[in-house]
Point group: C2
Chain length 233, copies 2
């Protein structure tokens, strides 16, 4: 029943905001091979299979580049699932990553699509393997980190307004976020060099123009706040 080696793959849960910045979408790709040929699934590759990989993170980048020609703003490993039932081919491992994309990314490949995250979590459409579970875990990671880091900003446009940042945070958390609190967080990040005021403005259909900011991460990690955004429930 068991052998010394197992089939190992890397799967990517790549998220972006819809153009209206209201909802999250998952990048899926239509499988070209068995099993589950033709179904929408997470982009992934076999680790160090027909293509050599220097390490797992490189394999993750390769998966996104090969399958979707997309380069993420943020990429982090979430976990590894391994058991004998997730893949009909036998005992397999999948290390899965959370990737956050620029909302401006375009994909013309018809085998690639962005589907509504909440739909996927509700099994619409159902994904093969345990991909729905992987999506859920990756989203949980994002939601947990959105409470006390700037992770949502990696989903906002290159130059963003306060409203863009607010929408991103709300999409990550799945609930309303206090406008004042978010502004204060942006202020603090500005004073620490993580956000810059571009000086430019964006004119909405009506009303006062919106200031445009730019996200300028100082280092690899995320900016950590020392309080939860959801303290008051």
């Amino acid at each position: 029943m068991s052998s010394a080696e197992v089939l190992a793959s890397v799967d990517i849960v790549a998220l972006r905001l819809t153009p209206e910045s209201q909802r999250l979408q998952v990048l899926l790709h239509q499988r070209q091979r068995l099993p589950y040929k033709g179904q929408w699934a997470l982009p992934g590759v076999i680790v160090n299979g027909s293509t050599a990989d220097s390490n797992l993170d490189a394999a993750a980048c390769r998966a996104l580049a090969e399958k979707a020609k997309v380069y993420p703003r943020h990429l982090e490993q979430v976990g590894t699932e391994g058991n004998g039932s997730r893949d009909p081919r036998g005992w397999t491992l999948s290390t899965y990553y959370l990737a956050l994309l620029d909302p401006a990314v375009v994909v013309e490949d018809p085998q690639i699509a962005f589907l509504d995250l909440q739909g996927v979590l509700d099994n619409e459409p159902p994904l093969p393997f345990d991909h729905r579970l992987l999506v859920e875990r990756a989203y949980e990671r994002l939601a947990a980190k959105a409470v006390y880091t700037n992770l949502p900003l990696y989903l906002a446009p290159e130059r963003f307004t306060v409203l863009d940042a607010l929408s991103a945070a709300q999409a990550c958390l799945g609930q309303p976020v206090n406008n004042t609190s978010l502004r204060k967080r942006l202020e603090r990040m500005k004073s620490e060099g993580w956000v810059q005021d571009t000086g430019e403005k964006n004119q909405p259909r009506l009303g006062r123009p919106q200031q445009l900011y730019r996200h300028t991460p100082q280092g690899n990690g995320a900016f950590m706040f020392d309080r939860s955004l959801l303290a008051g429930g």
Copy 2:
């Protein structure tokens, strides 16, 4: 250079507090096989190799049970390292876990030892493979979570005093923790059922007796506080 399958293992970074509750120690085991036979290394097993594993978590439990006959209070997956240079046998994957042990655990097996965590991080003794890196990552996870969860309590004795909880937190964070803040956290946990007052007391050599508490987790996750313990720097 590459094949369809890779060697996958699970390694455990199991920590406990020293009897004086001042420092953390890592559980290591003396390797019985090549490579690195005779050296102190993390306990681990080949996933679904000569022994079948229903899933990765089960393999992690098996590693601890087989190698050290130890059962952790808390076990969580930290990450997976995979590359061609970490193991002389070729391209390998290791999924590594953080395990928190009761300080009362005893191990009589001479092939098992608890070595000082800080020493191991300083390469004393040097560990084979990339085990030092895995230890570092697991400890980073613990330190990060100690800031806003009750994770350190899983390292405290079954019935603990405020001082025990304080020592555990300090050992996890690697820096002093405010006594008042910790007491208030215990108060809150008590009001939410996560800590119980046993009514018993412990008499130190001198001075007022210490109240003894018991840690009673309500569910699988950790208790989350909505502020950092280290907000003031």
